[in-house]
Symmetry: C2
Subunit: 202 residues, 2 copies
DNA sequence: CGCTTCAGCATACGTAGCGTAGGTTCCGGC
DNA sequence: GCCGGAACCTACGCTACGTATGCTGAAGCG
């Protein structure tokens, strides 16, 4: 790891070029030959380092998950107010996600890479697990209203994903953060009395 | 419209079969030939009724949007409490979206159909517009805290999408509805005092 | 210093699947 | 009973993925 084993930088170059192209034009529109050409090699080199195109996509997705994990973990202090920390973690995430194209690849294209159902799904489930555990702890501490942590975690992540795309598309960061802050704050027991709405007819 | 013009039922059959296959195995995994075979015709018939595969996907997406619009419009009463109505509309949507496969096609696959950026996007923007207008009116009425309706609409739709997938995957409908109800309720001015969180360092 | 070896990469090919071109059938109108 | 066009089929081209095989240069070894 101290010295890069010669061809390792070729692999890195392929990854960098692929992320650029995927972000700019979408996963499907980019061909393996184009990636190879942009990296200064041929298709053979790409298939030497990656088993197939989906493998390349999964590796990029994995890197992005790692980036998310690293940046949020660096600023997340689970001993503070959990819900406030989660809002702050979202803001940190916002500043590290990159540009709109990267976000689109990460939050949209990656879902339809067929092989994601085996490889990349583990990363996503891990991310869901992080949020779910924080919510569970908050419930135990009484900082959170009694909701299903699993459901709340996934729904919040859906909100975060859409908020991310909105911010990167429009630049209206403070507006999106305000909404997210509101939504997360909704889970505080002191804020809202427990309301029950009648179910709609099935 | 009273009498089906002979081959119209072929077109409908193709659409029905395509939705089944897309829902079961995903958009990309299904070939045009498979759709044609399952519909009892050949590829030529499919390309007679649709310009290409994406056109077929867009048509299905359009039908699903129409279904959403019709069912929610039938139960939505804009003269009541807007936020409560929106939670009810979500529950109605939940019962009409179909199975998990359909939802996955609608909420995931459809996003990466390249041609969606021209055709299907109009439907989605219309849906966003509906939610945004309701939120705007709620703001004017004082039923809503001062947030950017555009941002709130898109973020809420992200939460709804994820909640939909969660319910169809796990069957935990009441848990998801409870979370959604909380989140929507967070936009009420009387529930939470205005809180300001310091921005994270850029 | 020459030979060997193998990682790293190139080249050529097979193949799946999308879309097209042109032909064929069948129904309605006159 | 002939004609026109809608509905559908058949055969083909093309793109892009993935594979199989060939080449090359650098490290190891005597």
């Amino acid at each position: 790891m101290a010295r890069v084993p010669r061809g390792q930088q070729t692999r890195d170059e392929i990854l960098a070029v692929a992320l650029r192209e995927f972000a700019a034009r979408g996963y499907q529109a980019v061909t393996v030959e184009e990636i190879a050409a942009a990296a200064g090699v041929t298709k053979g080199a790409v298939y030497h380092w990656f088993s197939d195109k989906d493998d390349l996509g999964r590796e990029l997705q994995h890197q992005l998950y790692d980036r998310m994990r690293a940046t949020t973990a660096a600023t997340f202090h689970p001993d503070g107010d959990l819900l406030t920390d989660m809002t702050r973690a979202f803001q940190v995430w916002l500043t590290t996600v990159g540009d709109l194209g990267e976000a689109r690849f990460f939050l949209r294209d990656a879902w339809v890479i067929p092989a994601l159902d085996e490889g990349g799904r583990a990363d996503h489930e891990a991310a869901v697990g992080l949020v779910r555990d924080v919510l569970s702890r908050a419930v135990d501490r009484g900082e959170l209203v009694e909701v299903d942590p699993e459901a709340a975690a996934r729904i919040l992540m859906g909100a975060w994903a859409e908020a991310t795309l909105y911010v990167l598309r429009t630049g209206r960061r403070s507006e999106a953060v305000a909404v997210i802050e509101r939504l997360v704050g909704a889970l505080r027991p002191t804020d809202t009395p427990v309301r029950t709405t009648q179910e709609a007819p099935a």
